[in-house]
């Protein structure tokens, strides 16, 4: 490879963009020395820069790019350049490039739009356009934005966005669209309103005197007027035709003789001129020209790599460096793409002619060999999209798939899911379905985008492929290991803990030590599955062990271990531990710039604080994730919105809560993502229930299909909302349905050892028993719930079930520590009311007494106070001047109202409820 390796700087290396950005596409082409200066055109261009649009529309070879590049060089306004490419068929990719172009002038521009472009599921063109217009308008500065070769764009979504931009032009932005034909934009109305500047063939044709001047500059000698006139007549002042003619004239002192040969139509003219040019090239140079015509841009090492695939003239080939130098000195129609003189492209028309020539002279196999050589070089330089393009062009999607498989690891490591998704979308389903590695990659991408069913399908196909092989070589067993690694994750999602463990163990047996990342994933699922089958301590110890041993190996791994820990603590109902984990996760995420980890840290902190009833801190933690539907994890966004909505609801801001949830639902429907729809609809129904729209909630509950319950690591479970709706309906039939559903859920969460949701189900069961007048069973259920929830200190879990739970809470008999806890729960009930409307807040006062179904009388309170002083009935009777029998009646009333059986219990409970000083 030649010494002039292009600097990696030709490529924007940062991960700011979800697609790779090739710098050369952001450089305006350098203007050739022999170009004719066209001051009148430049003045007209500059005059139009206050209008929203300049359109330069003419066939190839009219010097469009050169003219506009020249304008940018001289204009009073700063200019940004984007050479459009077929790759921009993808709206995401196009807008990333557009922003990268704008940022060559204004470094921090369009941050919000870029945020939207990172979303795994891209927002609609309308949303993107609105954000882009805002961002550009915020700049408030003048900018000429050139989109060169616009005719290459065929994606209607891109046109839609630009139409919106033209309909609401941001301050200072002037769009310059350069192409071979008119764009499918609504520019005719701009033209009618004189809101655009326009340059077409008539404007760009050279006059006869310009033609003469051009030859003089290009050749360094005058050409006789008759020859100039003849050339001008045939070419009609077509600049590239003149440049080709000039190249021929270099080798012919007799211009008259040459120009007599040019006649007929433009196609014949081109062929004649090209043949003339090529026959004067040395054979090696000619072979290089034809071979490199497959490249849309090139540098010396790339040319050298491609030309090594040429057969027949090996000993005559120039080196890559010599080739590029020769292009410069001979003035062969080449455009420099950067200031350092590393990247070039042929003039489009010249490239087309050379390509045509290559197709005529070389076999399809020879051409394919050139593309392969280019792809190999591009691949080693990390220009993967370009390499894929070459392999797809020669109809080798299989090789393209192979390239993705070879190069996938760093992108998987770097969590670049939208880019991986883009690659896979370039291949046909047939190719993906035939390759276990691609299927595995697709499964990963499905997992990240929350499409679990598709994930299962990909894994099943991969397993079937591997099973059909006669014997498994080490690579195959590793692949099978990967499939099992993902399937154990799926089994876990499906709450099949034992199956997950089996798959995990098999996967670990198959995966070699060097498959560190996969083994780590399996390890994490293994820990969580241990919890699912009831060995939570073992699972946690394995995880702590890994955190101590391996966490420092790689930040992403550290982040993922912490995520697993957080999910396990959530399900284990360990809120205190969860707060600590979330804090560490936040530190790791910030320190190593891991967007997904940071997002999770916010969510978990918010979720834990919510249940600890620290609503304001919870809202602050959740806000960054809840406010951004296009963040790195949609799942985290969804759950953060859920928690935020409940906070608003608890704070009496029902309208805000509803708006948040409706926006989420709309977003899901727009993105066509149905995986999470039940969660969002359940949340809508839960709000209906609280906001006295019971009928609507009941309708939803009737329509709800209880499919397979998935592992309960989410913020909420839709089924518990269904149970609450039946409970609220309260008919015997509805209560029976609630009871049956809760029995099923209880069995599920007990068997999956999920304490967080088992507790919630128990509390709901208590309510069902209470509604049926079955106090004993109600108490037993709630006592069990309190026992489970006490170590974590869960408050909202109970408070969110509303006032019907209060009498049961007042009755339960638990130990003194439990009583204190019950007191705190009851306080959380009040907090809802006190942040609600002022009248209700005032009514709630601040004593636990209010929370009793049947409040204690003043006299009973007095008796209670004396019980706390450990006085006997007789002593109390003496103090209050009443009969001991009356004291006994009072104490019995107190016991009954508090749901206790003795004086000590009564005092402890009253203290717990805040009715007595502790």
């Amino acid at each position: 490879m030649g010494p002039t390796r292009p600097e990696p700087a030709s490529y924007v290396p940062d991960t700011k963009y979800p697609v790779p950005i090739l710098r050369t596409r952001l450089h305006r082409p350098q203007v050739a020395r022999d170009v004719v200066l066209r001051d009148a055109l430049l003045e007209r261009l500059e005059d139009g820069r206050r209008l929203p649009l300049t359109l330069v529309s003419a066939p190839a070879g009219y010097g469009k790019s050169t003219l506009v590049s020249r304008w940018l060089e001289r204009s009073a306004a700063p200019g940004a350049w984007l050479a459009v490419d077929e790759e921009d068929a993808d709206l995401r990719s196009f807008l990333c490039y557009l922003i990268a172009a704008v940022r060559t002038v204004y470094a921090d521009a369009c941050g919000e739009t870029l945020g939207l472009l990172r979303a795994p599921d891209l927002p609609s063109p309308r949303v993107l356009a609105a954000q882009l217009i805002n961002d550009l308008d915020d700049l408030g500065e003048e900018l000429l934005l050139v989109l060169d070769d616009y005719h290459r764009l065929r994606e209607s979504a891109v046109h839609d966005v630009l139409n919106d931009v033209l309909a609401h032009p941001p301050r200072g932005l002037h769009l310059v669209i350069v192409g071979r034909r008119d764009p499918p934009l609504k520019h005719r109305s701009l033209r009618a309103g004189r809101l655009m500047n326009e340059f077409r063939v008539q404007d760009l044709q050279l006059t006869e005197s310009e033609t003469s001047a051009f030859f003089e500059r290009a050749l360094g000698r005058r050409i006789e007027p008759e020859a100039v006139a003849r050339v001008h007549r045939v070419t009609e002042g077509w600049p590239v035709g003149l440049r080709l003619t000039a190249l021929v004239l270099r080798h012919h002192p007799d211009a008259g003789q040459v120009t007599e040969g040019i006649a007929g139509d433009p196609v014949q003219l081109q062929e004649y001129l090209l043949e003339e040019i090529l026959t004067h090239q040395p054979p090696g140079m000619r072979a290089c020209l034809e071979a490199t015509s497959i490249l849309d841009r090139f540098c010396a090492p790339l040319c050298e790599a491609v030309c090594q695939a040429i057969r027949g003239v090996e000993e005559l080939l120039p080196s890559g460096k010599e080739f590029v130098q020769e292009l410069q000195t001979s003035g062969l129609l080449t455009v420099a793409l950067d200031e350092r003189g590393q990247w070039y492209r042929f003039h489009h028309l010249f490239q087309d002619l050379l390509r045509h020539e290559l197709k005529e002279r070389a076999s399809a196999d020879d051409v394919a060999a050139l593309h392969r050589a280019a792809a190999r070089w591009l691949e080693t330089e990390g220009l993967l999209e370009e390499a894929l393009h070459h392999l797809l062009e020669i109809g080798e999607p299989g090789e393209a798939g192979g390239l993705i498989v070879r190069r996938r690891h760093p992108y998987v490591e770097g969590e670049q899911w939208s880019r991986i998704h883009h690659w896979l979308s370039l291949l046909s389903a047939q190719i993906v379905d035939a390759d276990p590695d691609l299927l595995i990659l697709q499964a990963r991408s499905c997992d990240k985008r929350g499409h679990l069913n598709e994930m299962g399908e990909s894994l099943d196909r991969a397993e079937a492929l591997l099973a059909s092989r006669e014997s498994l070589d080490p690579d195959d067993s590793r692949r099978l290991g990967e499939v099992l690694a993902f399937r154990c994750l799926l089994r876990y999602h499906q709450a099949r803990g034992e199956d997950a463990l089996t798959d995990a163990e098999q996967a670990l047996a198959l995966l070699p030590e060097e498959a560190g990342s996969e083994r780590a994933n399996v390890m994490m699922t293994l820990c969580a599955a241990q919890q699912m089958v009831g060995r939570v301590q073992q699972g946690l110890e394995m995880l702590y062990d890994a955190l101590q041993r391996d966490a420092t190996k790689a930040p992403t791994y550290h982040g993922r271990l912490l995520q697993t820990l957080a999910f396990m603590q959530w399900m284990d109902a360990d809120l205190q531990g969860l707060v600590r984990t979330a804090r560490t996760m936040g530190e790791v995420g910030r320190e190593h710039s891991l967007p997904e980890t940071t997002t999770m840290a916010h969510y978990f902190q918010g979720a834990a604080l919510y249940h600890l009833n620290e609503l304001e801190s919870a809202a602050a933690a959740l806000r960054p994730v809840a406010d951004d539907p296009h963040g790195p994890s949609f799942f985290m966004h969804l759950m953060s919105v859920e928690a935020s909505a409940l906070i608003h609801e608890a704070g009496g801001r029902s309208e805000v809560a509803r708006r948040l949830v409706d926006a989420l639902s709309e977003h899901l429907l727009r993105a066509g993502n149905t995986t999470y729809l039940p969660h969002v609809q359940a949340l809508q129904a839960a709000l209906d229930l609280r906001q006295d729209r019971v009928a609507s909630a009941v309708r939803w509950a009737h329509a709800f299909e209880t499919g397979q319950t998935t592992a309960g690591y989410h913020f909420s479970v839709p089924e518990t909302t269904v149970a609450r709706i039946w409970l609220q309906e309260g008919t015997p039939d509805a209560l029976a349905k609630a009871e049956a559903l809760l029995a099923r859920l209880y069995a599920f969460f007990e068997s999956t050892h999920n304490i967080r949701f088992r507790t919630e189900v128990l509390a709901l069961q208590a309510l069902v028993h209470e509604a049926k007048g079955d106090r004993k069973d109600a108490d037993a259920r709630l006592e069990e719930a309190i026992r489970l929830a006490l170590p974590g200190g869960w408050l909202r879990l109970f408070a969110d079930l509303g006032p019907p739970l209060v009498p049961v809470l007042n009755r339960v008999s638990v130990d003194p520590e439990g009583l204190k806890y019950v007191g705190r729960i009851l306080t959380a009930f009040q907090a809802i009311e006190s942040t609600d409307t002022p009248t209700r807040g005032a009514r709630a006062a601040s004593t636990g007494r209010r929370m009793l179904l049947d409040p204690l009388t003043e006299r009973e309170l007095e008796v209670l106070g004396l019980l706390a002083e450990r006085l006997t009935n007789k002593e109390i009777a003496a103090r209050l001047y009443i009969a001991p029998a009356t004291v006994r009646r009072h104490t019995e009333n107190i016991y009954s109202k508090l749901g206790v059986h003795g004086r000590r219990e009564a005092v402890a409970k009253a203290q717990g409820l805040g009715m007595l000083p502790v």
Binding site: S156, R180, R181, D182, E236
Partner: protein
């Protein structure tokens, strides 16, 4: 060619395509008059008539029709200017 009319220049064109134009898409052809006709037996046709600036303008219209998957049956140049 050299002695014929200049290639580039405004002219009125009539373009016939097979099929109907989605009203939502007709915004892409502002400035052209659009009408439908029952066609000659192989289904309805859409006829676009209007003054186009030059071949680049015409090519733009044809490319848009192509992108909308409307097969072009005929393109006629009705009058120069």
């Amino acid at each position: 060619m050299a002695d014929s009319k200049p290639r580039s220049g405004p002219a009125v064109y009539r373009i016939r395509v097979r099929g109907c134009l989605d009203p939502q898409q007709s915004g892409r052809f502002e400035g052209l008059s659009i009408s439908e006709s029952p066609g000659d037996g192989s289904g309805p046709e859409t006829i676009l008539v209007g003054r186009l600036l030059d071949q680049a303008d015409l090519a733009g219209v044809l490319a848009t029709l192509f992108d909308l998957r409307l097969p072009v049956i005929a393109v006629e140049c009705l009058a120069d200017g």
